[in-house]
Symmetry: D2
Subunit: 243 residues, 4 copies
């Protein structure tokens, strides 16, 4: 068993690894272009039987959930409720639009500690998945104390780069997995930053994570389908060898 | 002629006044509930031949533009471009989703001066309407220098309250209109904060504004359609008397 | 023994409890007025042999450290280094000015998780005391993972109020103390929010904290010296009964 | 006459040009090192009879005003009043500490439009000098509407670089001067970004500014005194030729 059960019933297969693709505000990841990409994820996900999700712009959440069968995450939500909050992203609204959860505290959208905690609680309340992003072992440990579903460790200096964290700094993944296990074993660790291919995925899983969070490696790729297949194969290889 | 031509070709009638309804993150202004409200705006707008627009959550922009014929504005956009900007609102993306423009610098989402200027330029470049919100005469004057389509003056202490700015502080509207006329006559002034009924609208237009920006008065009303009709009638009354 | 040793050699007595007074930007807590207050702290601290510190404006750090013998903390530092950071507070600069440490993430100045972690590391590197403020048990636990000297728990709704957290929500202090003990026993818990008198102090210590962080209760008091004495006596009473 | 009278009585000579040195958080610009630099400014200012000021860290405002006769500005103040504002910079407090004014909205510390306006008002109320930094002609025009004493135009891409704005983009200075003259002739324009030597100063004045705002060119120089003399000579040359 690679992954453990989640807090809520969500469209993922227990025991399978995760690949979460963050579309950011890349030109290829929004509107019609992003829908093509989402259909590729849908196809590859079905073919390989792995857990896939896309973290997309609030503008596209309803669009993609209606047009493709890929679990959709928000990239960010704001720590607000119903009311006078012009231009902020309401957790309840991403749920109604079809998102099954959200990234929280992404490296490009850091949040205050108290707000991260409040958002994890809000996700629990709404039956949504929470994935808190962190930058090193200590912040991973801190985030795990807040009891999200996932913590995704991404050393900022490796994000968007050509070397995956699982190769450049494997000790960060191992250390994060170990730290979380000791403190909040129900929280699962994802490996972010610089993941580019199936070998990176395999390595990330070997270090104890249950999957990867990646962005440019897929979204800006010339052939995203080929990359997605390669990532999926890395996951399958790990499962064949280790499980 | 109440209003003047806009920079770009947009679905508004030249010479007519404006009512912009900000849905904020009110429960009644999102998803399916918000769609009902948008259909009310559509109906009243057609009936009275006035310029109506709704400023909605990014989650609902595509939804409402596809389902109703009301010009949709974003409530906020971020001063970013294509790229690594997880969880931010890309101006190009609100356009693709169907928005015809955006509020900028709303009282609940204040922006830095340099970012306001950059966003007004971006709206010009994308052929979108820009409406910069301000809090007093001097900031209105400053905003007008940046050459948006509209400046909406809203003294923060009156927002969401029961007394409209056109009654409580008419000198702010008059002073804003006068200041803008002297410095950037192509920029049109809207009157915000506390607008509740047709009399408030009429008064706002008499003070020299070309329309109103309001929120709770419509969105949280027991009978939004009745309120919308009353607002529209106030505008018609002004036109009958003054034009 | 009430308190445990700190990471660095600092002007505090091991085993004694702490009273930290936050001067905020109260009129009575800045410049000459604040100096009078600091001299009261000096006097009461000497008299009762307890650990006192004042968290003051950056404008007054050097002034007070030169004029009085009370350990001075900054109220905030920015996560920056030497360089092009106009108008930010450099950790190295508060040290040179005489501060022995700093509050981090105060309720009125919340910080991002990654920045809290970076600032605790910076304090360690500079041999300075770090006191991270938090709002509930889970954020206290998270903050303790970052290994500061102190975590000060302050439910925001009680800050500045008339009821101390040790009375209104004793379970938050107890829960925080217990959570920290299990995860980072070297980190010491302070009790903030609403502390007004010696009884509150005594109660806070009984719940397992090593002292209190307070502000208006002292700074805005008609007779700050009387209040300081009362707080000190509460601490002494606790020591007599429990140690 | 190079410069015009200020709103308040301040230690500057009417008619003379200005050199404002921003110490940022450079190692050479804080504490004891910064005091040496301040004494150099004092010396050169006296020798050449020009208007000099230093914009320094809040930690050093009282220190430098007590130890040297150079007008001291804050690098930033927060839009707050007396009260519960832990870790923020109170305008009243910089005044009590000896500052004669403040930079507002520096490129490294951008502020919201409404806050810039509120801070300019607060400076007026306290009899302090306000210098609003901007990034292009339109934001300069907007800032001038708020009626500060100075607007300092600094295209961000030139800040800290080797080419002064007066050489790289003279049209920005000329355009700013012209825009401000038409709208708020009492507001004076300073030229920032990349100023390195006396020729840059001379050029900046020829373009219509009344002085320069610079940082690294002086603070990080091997021989700040030589640079300061060169800057002062550039100003004198301009005066000899033009006045």
């Amino acid at each position: 068993m690679l992954s453990r059960p989640l807090k809520h019933s969500l469209p993922f297969s227990e025991g399978k690894g995760y690949i979460i693709v963050n579309y950011k505000t890349y030109e290829q990841g929004k509107g019609k272009e992003g829908l093509k990409l989402t259909r590729i994820l849908e196809k590859v996900g079905r073919e390989y039987g792995i857990n896939l999700a896309a973290a997309v712009s609030p503008l596209d959440i309803r669009y993609y959930t209606e047009a493709a069968e890929v679990p959709i995450l928000a990239q960010h939500v704001d720590p607000i409720g119903f009311g006078s909050n012009t231009g902020f992203i309401l957790p309840e609204a991403i749920k109604e639009a079809g998102a099954i959860g959200t990234l929280i505290n992404h490296s490009e959208h850091r949040l205050r500690l108290a707000d991260i905690e409040a958002l994890v609680r809000k996700c629990e309340e709404l039956g949504m998945l929470s994935c808190v992003c962190t930058n090193n072992i200590l912040t991973t440990k801190a985030a795990a104390c807040l009891n999200p579903d996932f913590v995704a460790v991404e050393p900022p200096e490796l994000i968007g780069g050509d070397i995956s964290v699982s190769r450049a700094q494997p000790e960060i993944i191992e250390g994060s997995v170990e730290a979380v296990r000791g403190i909040a074993p129900q929280v699962q660790v994802l490996c972010g930053a610089g993941v580019k291919n199936g070998e990176d995925v395999q390595k990330a899983l070997e270090l104890g994570s249950v999957g990867v969070l990646l962005a440019s490696g897929v979204v800006k790729a010339k052939d995203p389908e080929a990359i997605m297949r390669d990532l999926a194969k890395g996951m399958i290889r790990f499962e064949e060898v280790n499980l």
